[in-house]
Structures are given as structure tokens and as C-alpha cells.
Point group: C2
């Protein structure tokens, strides 16, 4: 069954808003974010409340930028990395927009985009707000170790990006269009190291990327830029090698959001990860490049590692997924 | 913004499969399930693996009943109650169907149905497999207390249903149709007791139920049967009272899956809950009644409490949600 859907009337990006954390604000893409917070607590008494505050703020800012009221939005599609996606749930409560909660680990932003695009193109929504967040400190203590322990990380480990992103999708005219999407399947090559999620996600990214080109018939040089979500440095190298074995090379056009979001000297080991990683790079840097006409065709692949603490403790391997969305301005 | 969507070409139920746990197999609906397991481990070494096994089994059984191959299914929409929806993720890996992970607590089955129906009616899928599971022992130790402690429950507490359900939705002809759906919003009236989730979900059920009738213009006596997901006995009474204050009474037509699934003498306190609660009652009992022509119009409202352990520990209240789907045979 085909994983790709092409839209005769492509949904468009009506507006978008981004907030980044302190470390992301010291990275190479800092100037592309609407706001950078200077403290992980963001004037709240817990990190979890800080994450919710960021997500609510970008949701409201995206609506404001488009001069759209909450009442005009058909659906809020959102998720995050925390157990029971509490950031999304609590923000949904504050927004009051009909809400569909999503979980696809670090691919959640792209899951929201593929679903939002289909709901609009199918005629069931005129406006869909897609929102995601992640937070270094809330993720670290949930998935890894108590923050206070300061446990040393392995070189393949990644740094969870702190940030929140909201994108308002709609019908009609817009500079940035979504002509096609590819929904990924869960792929598991038997990798089991939770400190190397980039590696575990490579087979899923590879599968979705190849399916996208095969099903659309597009040439490999069609896009100006392609970016995976958060394979980070080791994962990215592995993906490039797998593609090379198939005789495919995207050259410097293929990059990874987890590599782009930090400077190498920021001590983030293999690079960034988290639901906000691909979201900040896409809605920050890429949308800017598309709006400015510096690129006109982008393919983003949100990547997610579908493990949990429990599956790791029970000795299971790591399934992963990748969803692709093309953004084009012409 | 309207929450309800009506389909000019209603998606249909092509097939469905149900597995229930030991306690559910002693309940009044036991004869409606395809299979009842007699041990919470289900021949696996952990409860989590038992839950995955049940979900995979119903997914494959639903496909088999419809004589449909995995390759013919466009999307697998699934979720469960475990952190990072691991049951759905690992089953998605085994199925290999393009996968969209969902989380809406105990309303996840209905979230899958509303999304699946829109993807089919919108022309983006010919067949969508919706799957959910929950398991008493995996939920109990994740959300509440170590199972071995045998902590006593309050009278308002509910019993997480063990079971898994898969429904294959499709285009074209079918005895059971989905003419309309209503997507709920997250509602929070300030209740904060995690041992009374039925009560916390009442305002969301009330909101979605009233929106459904207001937006469709249907008479209150249109449906033969209406069932909320898992308000259980106290929540159900509260909903009936709220409706009465608005001058609305559904009489005995309005019931709750959490009440239906167990005998009162089964010592489940207020009743059943969990993603499999509304799913087992809908795809077990209700689909049977529709197929037999004993009823022709059913409205189900999946209800979910969108809290987590962390939000409770941080003193936050409980947002809740309800999604409605009408199933009709005529």
C-alpha cells in the first residue's frame, strides 16, 4: 500500500511560532526563533509547567500572527514526549479547540502535519493548529536519570531540545504549501541501546525516504534541501552510507535537524533530539528560507524512537518511525 | 467551530475482533468477545508483553475475518494507556502498516475511529485499522501502586479493563455505518482526585453529547442506545443529573460501558475503565446488537482523563475529553 498522498489542492502554512530554550538560543539558528527563554523554569515552579507555558504561548502567537481566533480553528493536533502527553493535554484544555492527541516520539510534529494536511485536503477542516514541545529537563528525568545525579552521557547520546512550536495549517493561498506527505511504518532492525536512538531511527528514515521518491516518481535532485529530524551525527552518517549502498547520494542537500540546531562546541554529544528539534528547525530556519525564496522545495522527515523505559528494562529492541512532509514555495 | 462532521458517504465497519481478560470473561458481556484469556500473563513473561500479544492478535484476527492482507491496509491508528504507547508501537512494528500513534487516554479507541472515518471519507484511505488495548496489571503498576502492595481502593476508583480490540474501517458497503462523528475538546472543571476519574470526565462527556445533538439537529430520542466510555456508576449518575438540569433525559437508553462490562458483585468499585473498556463494549456487545438488528442507531462517547502521575504530584487538576461516533445499521 502506498504511504504517500499527493494533494491536488495543497494545504498551506498560514502562520507559525517558535520558542527555544537557553541552549538552543546559543546555537546557530537562534536568530530564526520568535523567542528564546533564558531559564529552563521560565518563571514557573516546575519544568513541566514551563514546557506547557511554552506550548501555550506558541499556540496563541501562531493564531495572533494569522489574526485567527481560537473559535475559528477546527482541530488542535498536538503531542509531546512526556508520559500521557501532558503538555499537549493541558494546553488543549486552555485553548478549548477540538483536540486530537498524538504520540510519535520525536516525529510527533511531522505526524501532526501529515494528519492536519489530510484533514484539510479532505475537506474536514479549514484550519488546523499543530503543536509540539519538548524540554531538556522534563525529558531527562523521565527517560534517563535524576537530573541532580549529573550522569555522564555516551558519545552517541543526544541532547533533548527545549522548545515549542505551533503551525497553523489552512486552505487556500499561502506562500508555503504542502503538496505531498508520506506516512511511515514502524521499523525495527534490532538495535536496543537507548543511548543511541539516532542509530535506531536510521532504518525508518531510510524506508520513508526511499518510499517517498519511489511512490512520487520524483528525481532524487528534486528537493533543494532534505532534513531528517534527529538522527544526529552518527545516525546521519549511517543513513548517508545506507543510501550510498543503494547508489543514492543527496550530497550536502541532505542534513539533519539534530546536527543543525547546535554548534559542535556546545557539548551535546551526537546532537539534538526531541519533538521540538525537527519542529524548531523546520518552522524556524526552513520556513524562513522558503519565505525568503532561498530555497523553494524542502522535504522534512520527522524521526521518532518508539521505546519506553519499560521496554528497555524488559530487554526489548527499539522500533522507530519517520513521517515525511514536503514544503514548497513557488 | 463545529465539532461534528457528517459523511455523505459514510465509512463502514468491515470487520472487528475482541479479546478480553479473565475478569471481563466473568462479566455479563463475556459471550460477545471472540476470545477470553484466563491469565493476565497470557503465556508471556511480562504483563506488558501480554498486552502487546493481545493487541497483535486482534489486529490479525480483524484482518483475517475481512480476508484483507496487511498490505491492503492504508493506515494503522492505535494507542494505549502505557507510557509512550508501547503496546501500539510494538504491534505497529509487527504489522508493518503505515502507523499513526494516538493518545487520548481511555478515549483512544474513539479518537482512532473519528480520525479513521475522516481519512476514509476524505479519500485518503480505503481501509484503516483502528486498534487499542489496556491491561489491569500494566496500568495498575504504572498509574497507581506496585501490584504486590495490594493497596485498598476508594469506592469511586475504577477497575482497568484487560482487553484488546481492532476494527477495520473501509469504504463502500457494510452492515454497520458511521454517518457522523464529534471531536471533543479538553474540559477541566477543577476536579483533582485521580481516584475519581469518572467524575472528572463527566463535563467533557456532557459537552460532547450536547454539541453532537445541537450541531446535528437530531432529536434526543433519535438513538436507540447511547453509551459513555467509562464514567462508571458515580460519573454516570452525575451526567444524568447534569442533563436533567438542562431538561434532557435519555432514560434507560443512556448507559456507560464501565457499568455494562462487569457484574456489580465483581468488586470493581465504581466500574470499569481503560482504553479497552469502551472498545470491548462497542465492538463486542454493540456491534452484535447492530448486526442482529436489535438496535439500529447507537451513539458511543469515548471518555478519557488526560492526567499523569506527574500532573497529580504537581497538584494539577484533571482535564478530560470525549469523542463521539455514531454507528448505524439500516
Amino acid at each position: 500500500m502506498k504511504k504517500t498522498r499527493e494533494f491536488s489542492k495543497p494545504p498551506v502554512v498560514l502562520s507559525y511560532a517558535t520558542i527555544a530554550g537557553p541552549k538552543e538560543g546559543e546555537g546557530p539558528l537562534a536568530s530564526y526563533f520568535d523567542k528564546v527563554i533564558n531559564n529552563l523554569y521560565y518563571y514557573e515552579d516546575t519544568w513541566e509547567k514551563a514546557e506547557q507555558k511554552m506550548l501555550l504561548e506558541v499556540a496563541e502567537l501562531a493564531l495572533k500572527k494569522a489574526s485567527v481566533n481560537k473559535e475559528e480553528v477546527d482541530f488542535f493536533l498536538a503531542g509531546d514526549l512526556l508520559n500521557q502527553i501532558i503538555s499537549a493535554n493541558f494546553v488543549a484544555r486552555n485553548l478549548g479547540i477540538p483536540f486530537l492527541g498524538l504520540y510519535s516520539a520525536c516525529a510527533t510534529f511531522y505526524e501532526g502535519l501529515v494528519l492536519g494536511a489530510m484533514l484539510i485536503a479532505g475537506g474536514f477542516a479549514k484550519k488546523v493548529l499543530v503543536g509540539v514541545s519538548s524540554h531538556y529537563a522534563t525529558s531527562e528525568r523521565q527517560y534517563r536519570n535524576p537530573t541532580e545525579q549529573g550522569v555522564q552521557k555516551t558519545p552517541t547520546a543526544q541532547w533533548t531540545v527545549t522548545g515549542a512550536v505551533a503551525v497553523l495549517l489552512g486552505e487556500g493561498e499561502g506562500k508555503i504549501k504542502i503538496p505531498r506527505i508520506t506516512v511511515g511504518k514502524a521499523v525495527d532492525y534490532g538495535l536496543a541501546d537507548p543511548s543511541d536512538m539516532g542509530g535506531a531511527m536510521v532504518p525508518a528514515a531510510f524506508d520513508t525516504l526511499l518510499s517517498h521518491f519511489k511512490e512520487t516518481g520524483l528525481d532524487y535532485d528534486y528537493y533543494d534541501l532534505l532534513a531528517t529530524g534527529d538522527l544526529a551525527s552518527f545516525g546521519h552518517q549511517l543513513l548517508v552510507r545506507l543510501l550510498k549502498e543503494q547508489g543514492i547520494s543527496f550530497g550536502s542537500k541532505l542534513t539533519d535537524c539534530g546536527i543543525m540546531i547546535y554548534h559542535p562546541e556546545q557539548q551535546v554529544n551526537a546532537g539534538g533530539s526531541g519533538a521540538a528539534c525537527s519542529a524548531l528547525v523546520t518552522a524556524g530556519y526552513v520556513f524562513n528560507q522558503l519565505s525568503q525564496g532561498k530555497i523553494t522545495k524542502f522535504l522534512g522527515l520527522g524521526t521518532g524512537a518508539l521505546l519506553s523505559q519499560v521496554t528497555t528494562q524488559q530487554g526489548m529492541t527499539i522500533p522507530a518511525i519517520a513521517h515525511a512532509v514536503s514544503f514548497e514555495s513557488y
